[in-house]
Symmetry: C2
Subunit: 464 residues, 2 copies
């Protein structure tokens, strides 16, 4: 292919952008919340919508059942060219607390950010519908302008990323042969900042646990039983409240075993970055780093393991007061893991820690939501250099290779099941409010994201 | 009045008992949950129903507005006889968790307890509709059989007891002159055990606080911000988890100031009681007293101050998982207070304790639900001896004078606003599940409760 072809594709993308936006909006209007069983039909609808949309530009695409929400699988005709597996997800996070949204989360709009940026606001605007559609639209443009795609592509878009891909991974394993490719392209990560593109080369892992502590066999009146009957909230808060020491280190025995310090040269580079409480925490209303004392903020955010209670509940949580001692109390607790930590060992260490602190007449039950190790990608994989060049050309700034604090466990699964490395390119920003009310995607991220993929597809055709 | 008259009244009560039950059921069917604004109309309906019912046996009764849920006020014609103010409440606790109820909470039934006892099951069956109706039915029987009541009675039944009587107390204060009487009869307490009647002579106070801790200005993604942004659940659990030391003593500075030990002779009596983990905690599935080490279980339950987290919530509490760091987390925390503790001082000590532990970039807000001091009643008040005799006659066992762990703050308000002492007689049992799913009232408590009041009304006529 020629530079002229690429330029035609880029021109078409700009010209057709309003239609790209309308196609994204159609997908955003579908309430594909994977965590909540009330939205099963919406997840199926999103898969069907996406399959039809990809098929519309000539890629044979179908909705494939799994034991959970279905996957979308599309395949270009095999052309003997470089062959990538494109991965994304159509499922989204729950929307609560709904009252904090300024508009209904499934009625997307383009609006003005306080600082004047144009933004797309909706649940999934970024994570991951907006990102998936940057790739889909780039492919559509190539097909429209040149009649074909520059490389062979298998589309593989799942519906359970936000709930741990429990049924999707077995689906890949059961259909390994179908998903052979040279490597994976993943579009579910961010830029370094608003103007600087990035390729993510390491990801933290995730272990997500649920804990339920039961004391009495029924709810009790605190006047009758207060002072004599153990309150499970007391047990739970004492355990969770003890998870951090005064230096903000996690107190679970063995938690830091195997965790390595970043090399001195990397640390030296990081010290030069403008990544400070002022730049990173102030926009969210905070000023004091909550991570381990003595570590750089960038280490706390990307290369150190963490623990967060993502949810806690017990007793009476309605309006007014109720003098109840509840029978049980629960929490959702997750850990971001780094290289050297084994999720199963951390799970056992956490459960042992909790169990050792349960009074003799109370009991604890555990539930697991997901467990994935951290990933360090191969910085030397050939497509990486090519994609870096393409991104730099589109954005006019040098592409940063960065570590991410977030987890995309599927990357490890692709390596394990298919033997494939992944290349992680995405256009999210730290202020996109993903997993929060008023999720947004910069209109610029969407448009230049499509253009970026158009360029990357061109250069990947040259990588053997 | 004569013994023959009393006997006729008691006989009538037994003969008419099915109708008494049906009248109680009519009241139990009204969803008068005072804590939840969704049930305002039901609270009004309960007040109107009760007013009509009391008026039906010739007591001039009306529904009186307050700034909150209305009160029911009924007055017999002044006969120059001993004059009591009868107090109870028609409001009930919320019913959640609803899925633990074996039947709908507002569809009362008489059913068999596992041990063969006949029980009335419904929200409010005991607290306080069942108890109120023991008194109402006793009055109805006296009126029906003899044409009049033995003493002058003012009925005063409120609709906000379960939410701290915030609007009811000003209502009493504003109408002091109406509520002059010799003393108050309160029916909202329990028996010593299933066979042994009791008069409650001391009550713990209650301070009920709400705490909300805010960290970031929005919910965050734990992958992006985990390790750098403070999680308000971490702050909340650390504070609440630190409220007790290893001896189960409350750690708030000054909390025990002014709390007196029970006198040696009382302690010696208590040691003889069969009040043990085996008798008191085993039925609720527990075995280890949660109160201060070195104290008798009966002290922990009635004369020592306590602290309980009655509710806690924050972050994602739905099904599945969500990797959120919430913006805020909340808890409802209450304290049972004893003689010598000033609720306002304890409130300040608690708020100071919490505030001192909030990180510099987080904030805390407090809400108050109620604050009432502990009460020690006058053991020598004349009606007490008379009521004790009447109860002993009805039940065939010596009446116990006991301390209660629960709070009835209105008792202090009656003393302060009207200068009146209260006599606390009730027929609840420890296993009535008040404030819990499957609340019940023993059918025997209801029937013999009515008979008990019929006897008490007779003897009080003789107390000058």
């Amino acid at each position: 292919m020629t530079n002229a072809q690429l330029q035609s594709v880029l021109d078409h993308i700009d010209k057709d952008f309003d239609n790209s936006l309308e196609r994204l909006f159609s997908l955003l209007r579908i309430k594909s919340i994977s965590a909540d069983p009330a939205f099963v039909a919406d997840c199926i609808a999103a898969a069907e919508h996406l399959a039809k949309d990809i098929a519309s530009f000539g890629v044979a695409t179908e909705v494939r059942p799994t034991a959970g929400h279905p996957a979308v699988v599309g395949k270009t005709a095999a052309g003997g060219r470089p062959h990538v597996l494109f991965y994304g997800h159509y499922d989204v996070q729950p929307v609560d607390p709904l009252d904090l949204w300024h508009r209904p989360p499934f009625e997307p709009v383009v609006t003005d950010h306080a600082d004047g940026r144009k933004i797309i606001v909706a649940r999934g605007a970024e994570d991951d519908k907006g990102q998936v559609m940057t790739f889909v639209e780039a492919c559509r443009a190539w097909k429209k302008v040149t009649g074909s795609l520059p490389i062979d592509i298998t589309f593989l878009i799942e519906g359970e990323e936000e709930v741990g891909s429990k049924n999707f991974v077995p689906f890949i394993e059961a259909n390994k042969d179908e998903f052979k490719a040279d490597y994976v392209l993943v579009c579910d990560t961010g830029m370094w900042d608003r103007d600087t593109p990035a390729i993510t080369t390491s990801l933290r892992g995730l272990l997500y646990e649920e804990v339920k502590i039961t004391a009495a066999n029924r709810d009790l009146h605190s006047g009758v039983f207060g002072g004599t009957a153990m309150n499970p909230i007391r047990v739970l808060t004492k355990i969770l409240g003890g998870l951090f020491d005064d230096d903000n280190r996690i107190t679970i025995p063995g938690f830091y075993d195997g965790v390595k310090d970043a090399p001195p040269d990397i640390l030296a580079q990081w010290k030069k970055l403008d990544f400070t409480p002022e730049t990173f925490l102030k926009p969210i209303g905070l000023s004091i780093p909550a991570g381990e004392k003595g570590r750089l903020l960038v280490e706390q955010a990307s290369t150190r393991p963490t623990c967060d209670v993502n949810g806690i509940w017990g007793g009476y949580i309605g309006e007014g007061s109720k003098t109840v001692i509840p029978s049980h109390a629960s929490a959702k607790v997750s850990f971001r893991l780094v290289e050297g930590q084994d999720p199963q060992k951390i799970r056992k260490a956490f459960r042992d820690y909790v169990s050792a602190r349960i009074p003799g007449d109370c009991k604890v039950e555990f539930g697991d939501h997901s467990a994935g190790p951290a990933i360090a990608l191969d910085w030397n994989m050939k497509p990486l250099a090519a994609a870096k060049t393409a991104l730099t050309e589109e954005w006019g700034k040098e592409t940063v290779l960065m570590g991410s604090g977030a987890s995309i466990p599927i990357v490890a699964d692709f390596k394990r099941t298919l033997g494939l490395d992944s290349l992680l390119v995405g256009f999210g920003l730290d202020d996109d409010n993903i997993h929060s009310p008023n999720e947004k995607y910069d209109l610029r991220s969407f448009q230049k994201g499509i253009r970026s993929w158009a360029r990357i597809l061109a250069v990947l055709a040259e990588v053997k």
